[in-house]
Structures are given as structure tokens and as C-alpha cells.
Symmetry: C2
Subunit: 403 residues, 2 copies
């Protein structure tokens, strides 16, 4: 393979939409799994919103469609997770949504003592799960994610895990977990933070009960964009936090809480209008992409990266992510004892990935904006750095606060 082949492949790629993003041409951005880049439409959209706020003030809730905005944007998200638009809503944060989902699930299984989760998943998942267990008098059992299927026993009220692991990119077989859990009467709550936007999923086909996720990673919604919550159609349960925006008729200011239908009942305060605008624009960029094509590109990009690492850097780094494409997300992590300074040097040389403690170099391959040549150039740059002493410069050893 030559780089020129990849140039040609970029030019002809039916999924790649690099020109819809504001990314500089010479930047190799492999950190869309931490913070996705803005789409071009987002800048104008946010500027317009600021103008509208100043001009129309409170009447903008009607004149600019702010009242319906959260419904509109949720509707754009729905196809990416195989959802009926009624069953998914953008709201709050992943943490708050996970809290609501786990409380709801536990209350549906009042006699089961256990919340089953994966060991070593994203910290929020276990902090929230332990908090829910503490609140409701349940216990948390944590097992390695590969053992979740065998650990779902009759005492389990709910099993929760990240579909794609934030460190290794390991992808779970959600369908098997869903079927196994339901066989023993347990519910399943998915964290899709590192999935949606990079991999199309089909929550009803997974037999999922609830799912939550994050819109500032592969969905490119912007820093601190609101999260989302999906609920299976058959779960007609009350929300735990009952904010006025989850009411069937918020503007009736009614005395009794009457839940909105579907996922909307899990909304709480007034929607974060400013935060929804870039996300709305970002989701438009996914329009017309078939789920299987998105997934195929994620798998091929990561496969190419692993192949090139094997070819050029097999002795220098260890591929931590699964080698079977269907067992990983749009992410590859490499182990290197000096991962932190190596990543700092890499960033300074135009290849942005990130570092996760202790020794992981993490690279995300967002199917919509990662070019085939980015994969080639990233490996070439990493090879240059590792075969020189450049990354040992003390300036790369500073403390890391990047989320």
C-alpha cells in the first residue's frame, strides 16, 4: 500500500465528510472520542441564536422554535441508535441520565439486591451506580466486562456497562448481554458515550431497557453538550427526577405531575438552548449515512491503523484494543511505558490523540471526519517520534488535565 492509494480513497469516500467540519486541513485529529470538532454550520447557528436572544428575548421561545428544539434535535439523534423518536430525548448529562436510568431499573426490580457492572469502566458509571445502590439499599457487584454474561444471575436487578470501553475501545456483544439478562429477569442499561456517532446501534434489537450517552464526543455537539436518554417503549415507568419540562403540558403549570410520553418524561429543567444548537447542526451531518456503512468505515479505519502499527511499530508499542473489528469501537489504544510524553510530542507534531492513565495512547477514528491519509500520517509521525529521542524532551512531561 502506498499513501497515494489512500489519497485516492479519501477523494472517493462516500462517508467521509471532512469538508463539513472546521478542522484545519493539516491537522490529524484523532480525539473526536474526547471532544468532537465543530461542524461548519454550528458557528453560524450559535451566532444566530445569540442575535435571536438579544432581539426576540422571551418571545424567542416561540418565534425561534426553542420550545420545540429539544424535540427536533432528539428526533435527529433517534436513527443513530435505532430509536423511535418518541423514545429518546436529549437532556441533562450522561451522569444524571445514568442516575435516572439505574434508579428506574432498580425500582422495577424491587426484590433484587444487585446492580451488576463492569470493573474499571468509566468512573462516572461506577460512582453513579454505587450512589444509587447506597440510596436504594442495593449492592454493587463489579466483574471484568468480558464476564458480564456469566455474572448475570437471578439476584441482579440491572446490569450496566459501557458498550465501548473508554480506555481500550473494547466493544461488548450487547445482543447476547440483553438476551441473557432478560432470560433471568434482569434489566440492561447501556452507556453509549463512546459508541454513538462512531457506530450505529439498534437498541430495540439489543433488548436494551434504557440507555444513556454523551453528545460531545463522536456526536460533535460541543464542550459540555447535553447528554441523552433512551427508554424502551414497553417501560412505562415514572421518572425519578420530575422537572417541569418532563410534564405532558409544562405550560399548563398544573398541580399534578403528569409525565410526558416516551423519553420526554425524563427531561427536567428548561432545555439548554445554546448547547442544543451546535448539536442540531452536527447531527444533520449524519443524515443519509446508513448504519452499516458507518460501522464498516469505523472498522476499516481502525483495522488499517492496527495493520500499519503491526507493520512499522510492532516492537515499540502494544496494541491494547481487540483485533477482531466487531469487538472494538472506532478507537485503538496502544500501550507505551512513556505514553504521556509520547502523546504530548505527537500532539505538537500535528497528530492529536490523548493519553489515559497509566500507559495508554488513545486514538479515535471518527468515521465522518477521519481521512484514510490521517491514519497513514499518524503512524508515520508516531514512528518518527519513537525512533528518535524527540519525545524525551522535558517539555513534554508536564501534568495532564485534559479530560
Amino acid at each position: 500500500m502506498r499513501r497515494d492509494d489512500l489519497v485516492a480513497r479519501d477523494a472517493a469516500d462516500p462517508i467521509l465528510r471532512r469538508d463539513r467540519f472546521t478542522l484545519a486541513d493539516d491537522l490529524i485529529y484523532l480525539d473526536g472520542n474526547s471532544l468532537g470538532p465543530p461542524v461548519r454550520g454550528a458557528v453560524r447557528r450559535v451566532a444566530d441564536t445569540m442575535q435571536t436572544w438579544g432581539r426576540d428575548l422571551v418571545s424567542a421561545w416561540n418565534s425561534a422554535g426553542w420550545v420545540e428544539l429539544v424535540e427536533d434535535v432528539s428526533g435527529r439523534l433517534a436513527p443513530l441508535v435505532g430509536a423511535d423518536p418518541q423514545q429518546v430525548t436529549i437532556t441533562d448529562s450522561t451522569s444524571v441520565n445514568l442516575f435516572q436510568a439505574l434508579v428506574v431499573a432498580c425500582r422495577l426490580r424491587p426484590d433484587r439486591p444487585t446492580i451488576l457492572l463492569e470493573e474499571g469502566g468509566f468512573p462516572t458509571d461506577r460512582y453513579v451506580a454505587r450512589g444509587v445502590a447506597d440510596l436504594l439499599g442495593r449492592t454493587v457487584r463489579a466483574v471484568p466486562r468480558q464476564q458480564l454474561v456469566s455474572a448475570v444471575t437471578g439476584d441482579v436487578a440491572v446490569v450496566t456497562a459501557a458498550h465501548v470501553d473508554y480506555r481500550t475501545g473494547h466493544r461488548l456483544d450487547a445482543q447476547t448481554i440483553g438476551a441473557t439478562a432478560h432470560d433471568v429477569g434482569a434489566l440492561v442499561v447501556w452507556d453509549l458515550a463512546h459508541t454513538t456517532g462512531a457506530l450505529h446501534v439498534d437498541l430495540p434489537a439489543w433488548e436494551a431497557d434504557l440507555a444513556v450517552g454523551c453528545a460531545y464526543k463522536f456526536l460533535n455537539g460541543g464542550p459540555g453538550a447535553p447528554g441523552y436518554l433512551w427508554v424502551a417503549e414497553e417501560l412505562e415507568v415514572p421518572a425519578t427526577i420530575r422537572g417541569w419540562w418532563g410534564h405532558a403540558e409544562p405550560f399548563a403549570f398544573a398541580d399534578a405531575w403528569e409525565p410526558a410520553s416516551g423519553a420526554s418524561r425524563f427531561r427536567n429543567g428548561s432545555p439548554a438552548i445554546l448547547g442544543l444548537q451546535p448539536l442540531d447542526e452536527a447531527l444533520r451531518v449524519f443524515e443519509g449515512i446508513r448504519g452499516e456503512d458507518l460501522n464498516a468505515r469505523a472498522e476499516e479505519l481502525t483495522s488499517l491503523f492496527i495493520d500499519l502499527i503491526d507493520e512499522h511499530l510492532a516492537d515499540a508499542v502494544e496494541v491494547v484494543s481487540p483485533r477482531a473489528p466487531e469487538q472494538r469501537g472506532a478507537q485503538v489504544s496502544l500501550r507505551h511505558p512513556a505514553a504521556y510524553p509520547v502523546m504530548q510530542a505527537l500532539v505538537e507534531h500535528g497528530v492529536v490523540g490523548d493519553h489515559r492513565p497509566d500507559d495508554l495512547l488513545r486514538f479515535g477514528f471518527a468515521p465522518l471526519h477521519t481521512r484514510w491519509t490521517d491514519v497513514w500520517d499518524a503512524v508515520a509521525t508516531l514512528q518518527d517520534l519513537l525512533t528518535s529521542d524527540l519525545w524525551k524532551d522535558p517539555k513534554y512531561a508536564a501534568p495532564n488535565k485534559v479530560p
Copy 2:
């Protein structure tokens, strides 16, 4: 009194900062209690943030100070509620924060069955309180807000109310409620949604335990801006929702949840960076204003409005808000049987207040941007409308969805 006197008073007013807002000169905006207007700095600030996001991408968390932003903005809010900056944090929404506050309070009083709240307060307050009661096996007792003091009995775990009522503008005597509640061992949770930014408060002097509020009303933070939560220094309790951003060291990705100090432990997901930017600019406009001056101006603006209504419209409308200045917020509500069409007509004639079911005309007098002449002109316009048949035009009878 002549209008010219008020023109002179506007020119000399030490609190009025109309020029810091983008409000059109000919607009009389008396709805800052629903959605505050943008300050001039906010537009540029948000545009800069969009540029920074596109240019610096994930590294903006450090390069642009996003990691510290929530702390910075919370610090600017602190003096408005008499808080140590450690004890207040901007986070989530009023609904979510109220949920957390009430759960925390109930868990601190495990043997007390009752959540005491006001009848007819803002719907979210009672929806959330009933949800918490349902979750924790408590009961809710609702009494008229004027009877809260006598209703705080030994069975009460927590008493919660809006300091300023959203319909009538009635302001509670928070200090008496705090002292009475503590006398019988109950905790107090305040909803400051219609207070902060219009009235300076001193939460420690109130003997408050927790407080929550809203940043898109008198704080001018923008549509759907994040809410805030204050916790008394002596309440060293765990958070209920334990998101990673409430951890003492989020970027350590530690296994165990170790709460951040003060109110920070009640943070959940990554901060809404875009939503924080206009709020940061808006809070800067409060700098240098003494609490007693803010309160005095709120009281004088509303007094002038009531005096002018009494003088010109005593037969046409009923003043619903308390006549004693210390018993009301920066808001006056008038009762009129055709409140909805009258408000529509008023808005079309350049005076923006709002309507609340069934028959209330609601006017907010934000001390930072409401001119003395606005008060005069609003009453004059209302008088013109009510003494003509203009408001009876069928075009003003459309359904209302404005929050």
C-alpha cells in the same frame, strides 16, 4: 411627578447599567424574570468560544481555561447569595439541583416523615418534592406559603419554598423560617429562581441548609443556562448523584468516589462550557454593586410601578403583589380578567411582560436594566390600552406557549 424627573433619575442612577445590555433603546423589557437579556460581552464571548473550540479542540480544556471555568463562574455568583465561593456551584438545572438538595436533606433526617412545602409554588418544586417523597418513602405536606412558619413541626425533615413566588412576587421572611425550622430540627431548602440577580440574599444569615436557583432569569445567563446549588458549610454530606465532575480529582479516573469539597461535589457531568460563557459575562455586570443598593432599587422600582397603577389604573386592575416592599421581589403582578390578550397587546406596543394563568399580568423589574422611565412608560401604555378597545382585537387571543 413628571416623566422628566425620571429621565434625570435614569441619567444619574448608580445601579442602572442599561448600556451593558444589548436591549434596544425603545424596548421596555419587564420580563427579565422569565428570560434575562444578553449583556453586550456575551455575544463576543460565545463567538470566541466557538472559534476556540474549532481551533484548539480538546486542548481548549486547558488552553482556554475550560477546566476552571465552572469554578470561576461560581465564584462570581457567590457574592450575590452571600456565599463563600466554595459553597456554591453552577451545575445542571434547578430541577436536578432541587432533587439533590431534597434527597440530601431527607437523608439527614431519616426518622422524619414529612417534606413541607408551599401550596401553589412553581410546579417543578412540588413535582420534584413529591418525586423525592415517593422515592424515599416520605410524605409531602403543602400549606399556603404564609403558613410555613406555623406548619414547621417536629415531623418535618425539610421545608422547601421559593423565596419569591413566581406568580405574585410575594417574598418570604427567610430568616424567620430558617430559625423556626432549626428550632424544631428541620432543614431548609430554598428555591431562589426568582430572587438572585434582583435581590441580594445572605444564605448563611438565613440559617439556610441548601439552596438552588436559576441563571436564565434575573442573572441573564441565557436560555436554558445551567442552574446552581448552594450548601451550608457545616453540611458535610455525600452527593446523591455522583458524577465524575464532582470528584475531588476527576482526571485521576480513580476507582473510588471521593467528593470534591464544598458544593463542587454536587457537580455531575462535564460542565456546559457554551452555556457558562454568557453567564460569566452577565455576572461581571453585577460587580461593584452593593447588596443593599440592589435591593433598594428593586423595592423602589416596584413601589413606583404600584404607585402609578394606583394613581391611574386603580379601577381597571388589582395589584396582586404585596404592598410592603420587603414582602415582594422585583416583580409586580396585576389581576385583569382578560390578562392574556391585554399582555399580547402590551407586548405589541413595546412593553414586554408576561401572562401567567389564569388572570395575571406579570412584570419584572430587573434593577440592572430597568429604567425609571420604563416604569412610567409601561403604566402609560397599559393605561392607553385599557382605556381603548385595542386589546380586544382577536389577533391577541392566540394560545400562549411562552415559558
